[in-house]
Amino acid sequence: MGETHRDQAAVHAEVLILGGGPGGYTAAFRAADLGKQVTLVERYPVLGGVCLNVGCIPSKALLHVAQLIHEAQAFERHGVSLGKPVLDLDKIRAWKQSITKSLTQGLAGLVKQRKIDRIEGVGRFTSANSIEVQTESGAQTVTFDQAIIAAGSQPVRIPVFPNDDPRLLDSTDALELETIPQKLLIVGGGIIGLEMATVYHALGSEISVVEMMEQIIPGCDKDLVTPLHRRIKKQYDNIWLQTRVQSIEPVEEGLKVFFEGKNAPESELFDQVLVAVGRRPNGTLIDADKAGIVVDETGFIPVDKQQRTNVPHIFAVGDIVGNPMLAHKATHEGKVAAEVVAGMKVGFDALTIPSVAYTDPEVSWMGLTENEAKQQGIDYERAVFPWAASGRSLSLGRNEGLTKILCDKETGRLLGAGMVGPNAGELIAEAVLALEMGADAEDIGLSIHPHPTLSETFAFAAEMISGTITDLYVRKKGQ
């Protein structure tokens, strides 16, 4: 036996986790805490996946830099002049790396404390109970009783683009902050594209955004996106909607981009182009077929509420099982999968997965969107509280924010909420809690919110539904 194993002898795991991102490490930790012997396979030397290394965390570090620059500029007209910012890219990069490093080190410590075996390398299934990991020192076979796949996703590449040209970036490249291009085109007006636009704009790039759909951040209610759109329209060179990039031609001076669509020029030259048109699941990269796992044509692995694939002892979590590709969805799913693996009777039962765009202003939403409510014919009542009436918002020098809530017309129960404005991403958590607890507008309005805070706007919107608001004058229906 083992004639092909020129390398290490096979090892066995009660639970094998494939992928060390938020979904994978959460599943690994939870399973270990429930008494399982866990082996975690991750291709990179650091854990944390896209989120920690080339996604959520580094982008937020850079967005904070952007916020500092924007706020400093904004307060010049209110009597605070800090002068033109001097940027030391190396230092900014180092600071960003240090955050990532401290977090990944923290994870490595948690792995050790839990006595989880870690194998570094790309893992692929060889059967329904074994996987082969290409490690630095050769192939390592791991047999397992149960497995949880958390192999994530990667940025979508568009084949016709000059993908080898270093001036064509994906989000990972953009976060490297190698240079600050003078003219940057962002292909894709979704959350990732607009966050990177925010960063590069603050660092001095002239930004153009091109989006195929008729609004930026498609999927979010338009009224929530409008304040962001208005603001960036002034800041950026162009926002082309309902426009697609036909081709990109590398020339010496830059990348010549050809457009097709409304109001867009035929072509324009950019120093760099960032492609942020979405992410693609890695389902096709793990030889799932050898384990008999069904993978759909997009690369997603279908699972049930217990995160179970069609193979009963193999589970999958995170980006690889479906949209939205968000770390907080992956971690929640990771826990469910680990608990099911440990024999607990649980399931993915969350009522909502909140979404946040860390743009400036931030946009966040959860639960039912108004678009969905209309499509599904749900009878809802809606209230929108303008932050122009929030003292806290005005004292931040901002007045464009909104807090919107949707409630069941009959019971007043919260169905959905959305916010736009500084810190909207933090504020949405309260709405999620309210939704999960089954709160109605009255409950929210009757909960005392500290003054002056932005969080008050959520209670005010609820009071608008209940008809008890005093911070605004709302004409009663029929008067």
């Binding site: 039962d349 019971t411 999960e436 089954g438």
Partner: protein
């Protein structure tokens, strides 16, 4: 212009009353006694009459709501005139309701006035363990994540728990536990019977069919009857009472009366005779305790009268029959039958019976086997009286004979006692002067 509130009256300690239909709208002028809504309990559907006249300002309920005593139905801008405290008893103008309940009075008048809704579609039965989808909407169960997790562990579908005991009906852990207990205890009864269900048949293979949903009364009656059928060892005993003299007295009395006064029905005498027999044999006026260890003997004498209505069988109860005279009982019976047919009986009108009389007299038949209205222990069935030749020892005499069918719970009543009970009733009906003794 005063504002008047219409509320749900005392309907006899019933909590969840379904609103089946609301028949008024804001702006509409309504009169006293006009039906404002159709309510339904597990016992009956009832039309809720307005307690005042006026213009409807606001309606506070809608179909599918649950209400209880005191719930606000509507606000009226009243134009004066609230309902007088007590209605003058509808002077039994009702045609004599056939010696023993009725055929012709029943289905005919169902849907005459607008106040009489024809279709009464109950939204949903009580928190029944019967697998049924969640009420109405796609609305999610009102339970927090930890309770949802708990329910999942126990395999409870939260949509089956209609309303929790938490604030605003939030389902709490205790509600999930209670539901599980309830299902388990009911399941035990069902499982205990060990009877395989009747298999489903696709009748459309044999010809055209039409599906008609059962109304709530019918569904609940069916459930109740099955439960009794499975739980009670029942015996039915048949006999005949000679009511020749009684009938002669009754018809001559009614003839003298002409137009005014209370016409007497045979049913009232049967009720009176039944109660006299119950006084003599107290075990017939009893119920078995739930654990089957004790007999609960009642010191009051309330008799249920089964009434056939367009919406199904209902059983109004005549109270304290032992203390009331024939006239009073006659007018009460006539009033309650009328209310029953109009769907206006309140649950309180149907509670507290000690024994039930079920009559098919208006239709025909020579005997049947009624099912005991448990937890009562016996039921008296009555079919149509017939003139029959009765041997008096020397010759056949034409006698009016009334068939009686007594079904009793054999756990409580022995065969001999049953026979003696019927003998007593026969005695009273044979010579009603004995009722005075």
């Amino acid at each position: 212009m005063a504002l008047t509130e219409i509320k749900v009256p005392d309907v006899g300690n019933v909590a969840d009353i379904d609103v089946v239909e609301v028949l008024i709208q804001p702006g509409e002028r309504i009169a006293v006694e006009q039906t404002v809504a159709v309510l339904e309990t597990d016992k009956a559907t009832m039309d809720l009459p307005s307690s005042a006249a006026g213009t409807v300002k606001e309606v506070h309920i809608k179909a599918g709501d649950k209400v209880a005593e005191g719930s606000l139905i509507a606000t009226l801008e009243s134009s004066g005139g609230t309902k007088p405290a007590a209605e003058p008893a509808a002077a039994a103008a009702e045609a004599e309701a056939a010696p023993v309940e009725s055929e012709e009075s029943a289905p005919a008048k169902a849907s005459e006035s607008a106040a009489e809704p024809t279709v009464r579609e109950p939204e949903e039965s009580l928190a029944a363990p019967v697998p049924q989808p969640a009420p109405g909407s796609s609305r999610k169960a009102h339970a927090t994540p930890s309770v949802r997790l708990f329910a999942r562990e126990l395999g409870v579908d939260l949509s089956r728990i209609e309303s929790g005991s938490g604030r605003k009906g939030r389902i709490l852990k205790e509600d999930v536990k209670r539901y599980v207990k309830q299902v388990m205890s009911e399941g035990a009864v069902a499982a205990g019977s060990g009877i395989p269900p009747i298999p489903a048949v696709d009748f459309s293979r044999f010809g055209e069919v039409e599906e008609q949903p059962l109304n709530k009364i019918r569904r609940l009656t069916g459930k109740n009857l099955s439960r009794v059928w499975l739980n009670l060892p029942m015996v039915t005993y048949h006999d005949e009472a000679d009511i020749t003299e009684l009938e002669a007295f009754r018809t001559s009395h009614n003839a003298e009366l002409a137009d005014n006064g209370v016409k007497l029905t045979g049913l009232v005498f049967i009720t009176k005779a039944l109660v006299a027999a119950m006084q003599q044999f107290p075990s017939f006026n009893s119920s078995l305790s739930a654990d089957g260890e004790r007999l609960i003997v009642k010191r009051y004498f309330h008799v249920g009268i089964a009434v056939d209505t367009p919406n199904g069988l209902v059983v109004p109860v005549l109270r304290d029959v032992n203390r009331k005279g024939i006239y009073q009982l006659s007018s009460e019976l006539s009033e309650k039958s009328q209310l029953a047919r109009k769907g206006r009986l309140m649950p309180a009108d149907m509670q507290g019976g000690c024994m039930t009389i079920s009559g098919l007299g208006g239709i025909g038949g020579t005997g049947f086997t009624p099912i005991v209205n448990a937890p009562e222990v016996a039921i008296l069935g009555v079919t149509r009286a017939r003139m029959q030749p009765v041997w008096d020892g020397e010759a056949f005499q034409p006698r009016l004979m009334l068939p009686l069918d007594l079904t009793y719970d054999h756990r409580v009543i022995d065969g001999a006692e049953g026979a003696r009970f019927i003998e007593a009733i026969k005695n009273y009906l044979g010579d009603i002067r004995r009722l005075l003794l």
